[in-house]
Amino acid sequence: MNRISSKIGLVAAALSLHVGGAFADEILVGAEIPLTGSLARVGAGMHEGISVAVDVFNKTNGKHTIKIVTADDESAPAKAIAAVEKLAGDGVVAITGGYGSNNIGPASDAANKLGLPYITSGGVAENLTERGYKTFFRINNTAGYQKAMVGLLETMKVKSASVVYSTKEATADLAKDVEKELAAKGVAVTLHAFDPAITDFKPIINKVRLQDKPEAILMVGYENDYVGILRAAKVLKPKVKAMVGVWSLATPKMASDFPDLMPSVYGTALLPFPAEFQSEEGKRFADTYMKLYNKAPDYLGQFGYVQSMILFEAIARAADAGTLKKGGIAQELARTDRQTLIGRVQFSDKGDNLNFVHRMGQHQDGKIAIVWPADAATAKMNFPGVPW
């Protein structure tokens, strides 16, 4: 019942209009996020991180208080624009959130026209930062995921790989960039694009098994795609040494929900699981997360927290300087240079995080071990190793 109540609360928050006037010392910040539709799960995960950031910021920053106004973009680009416009009407000073490059693109276009800074971690398509907006910032990018995937394959010393990727913008960008870099390093790569609506991956994996015969299969997609690909591979048993994915794969959720499919599978991961935080901020984040949601944080919450905390700090600095409504937030965001839970964050003049590099995790005995890069590794890589 508690779970249902909390879900009702979440949707109510998504549907809520800004209630009444805010207190004088409260600064309104918009969260445009998919809480329903195909991206509801990842949107809800990011929203948890945003809520944790609000809680932590309001407790640790004595001078300013942040109040979040949430608008559900229903995982649809047109609704994302409407959500941004609604939030602007509610009087927010900036926007955090967004998931899926195809939603973030039009949403941040609308925010830019309205002069609202927009910060995200949910879209890695390259064209997002090529628009040259002074109001757009993101803390992760394709290059960081690419470095991690290519770095892992270099460590494995594989000579051939098949990349199975969704035709969505962000996944296609990443797959092609990985292919280019691997090919330049002498690895034989074959690309297999798939439509996001596909459910049976056996014909693709059979092509990989009988024609490509690679040493590793790279999967660039989302949770439902990974389950389909791994199931098909488990049936067809291609002779590969590793199954390597990207986001949303090396997570505690996947480990607990699909224990038979995950052993030895790789994916990007910021933290091992069970999570271990060394810094004060990390411990505060994990404690607050546990208090609010009664569970350990995952990468979605972590990204949502970092992007929001950076924004809140920029807002506080702009408020102190008296430039809150004179473009000061974007200027303060551009000046950001600090260590965060995902590493050092500094923005380029296009709004991209200059320092973002991901890590690679591997499912091992129901846990997630960081196996790349070597200086961050928490366990030895189980290689060769596949779930079957």
Binding site: I4, S75, K202, N206, L210, G228
Partner: protein, 290 residues
């Protein structure tokens, strides 16, 4: 190459059986009432989530969810019918809007109750490989293909041999004439919604057993079922099987011979081509054999 094509054909046939199971209920209601139930995919999804609940809460095989799903989905289907029956004017058009709205409500109900997480069976028996020579599949795919064929045979028998089945066809052909023959169209329509609910229950448990479910998945199922129904020709049960198999095989061959990125495009092109050449569908009124 031959091994690739053989596997593609086999995968396509199994996928076609799955599509047919999803489309049958929609085709039945479309055939009898001329109502396109745009909430049909959500009924299938509801059954799939019942299978998830039975497996995750009780630790039982998804197959044990079928009786529970039958009750819940049939009740929901009857509720949908009662709402549709309240429409007094332009039922064919207005029911589209109504059932679309019901679909949205059901999707959000699923989201509230079961959250947005990706779900699928954890039963290793269901997922284990079944290999016949060059043909590879999961056990659950073969199992539910057999179930699909059996249900289709049962439905065909029911429609052609049983009193209620013939009443459904009579109402479908001419509602007023059926009334004059002593058939109560209202109870006949309720029966067709219940049968659609039964078919949706099996389809939902099948999808959970070999696929992946999410709350937003319902409308994808409805669209696929609608394509097959129109492809088949309104009211034709054998047509649904042929249309579903054609679609499944065309998609699998596209993946094998061209690119998987073109799979959906080829499905839609096939749909448009058939409609262009045979506007009544493969087994539509002009040449119906089923």
């Amino acid at each position: 190459m031959s091994e690739l094509i053989l596997q593609a054909l086999y995968s396509g046939v199994l996928q076609g059986g799955s599509y047919a199971l999803i489309a049958l209920g929609l085709a039945l209601v479309f055939g009898t009432m001329k109502v396109i139930n745009l909430a049909h995919g959500e009924l299938v999804l509801l059954a799939a989530y019942m299978a998830y609940t039975v497996e995750s809460r009780l630790g039982l095989s998804p197959m044990f969810a079928i009786p529970v799903a039958l009750v819940l989905v049939c009740i929901t289907a009857v509720l949908v019918y009662f709402l549709v029956s309240l429409i007094r004017k332009d039922r064919e058009l207005n029911s589209l809007i109504l059932t679309y709205g019901i679909g949205i409500i059901l999707t959000n109900a699923v989201l509230l109750i079961w959250s947005a997480d990706v779900r699928s069976t954890s039963s290793s028996w269901m997922q284990d490989a079944l290999v016949f020579g060059p043909f590879y599949s999961m056990r659950s795919e073969v199992l539910f293909f057999v179930v699909s064929v059996a249900l289709m045979g049962g439905l065909w028998w029911w429609l052609s041999k049983s009193w209620y089945g013939r009443a459904v066809r009579a109402v479908s052909s001419n509602r007023d004439a059926a009334k004059l023959m002593g058939i109560n169209p209202r109870s006949t329509e309720i029966v067709s919604f219940i049968v659609a609910g039964i078919l949706a229950s099996f389809a939902g448990v099948a999808i959970f057993s070999y696929g992946v479910i999410q709350p937003a998945f319902g409308h994808v199922l409805t669209v696929k079922a609608f394509i097959i129904t129109v492809l088949a020709g309104i009211g034709s049960i054998p047509g649904v099987m042929v249309g579903a198999l054609l679609l499944g095989i065309a998609e699998a061959l596209t993946v094998t011979l061209a690119s998987s990125a073109l799979q959906e495009l080829v499905g839609m092109s096939l749909f448009l081509l058939v409609l262009f050449v045979m506007p009544n569908g493969l087994f539509g009124a002009a040449g119906r054999r089923g």
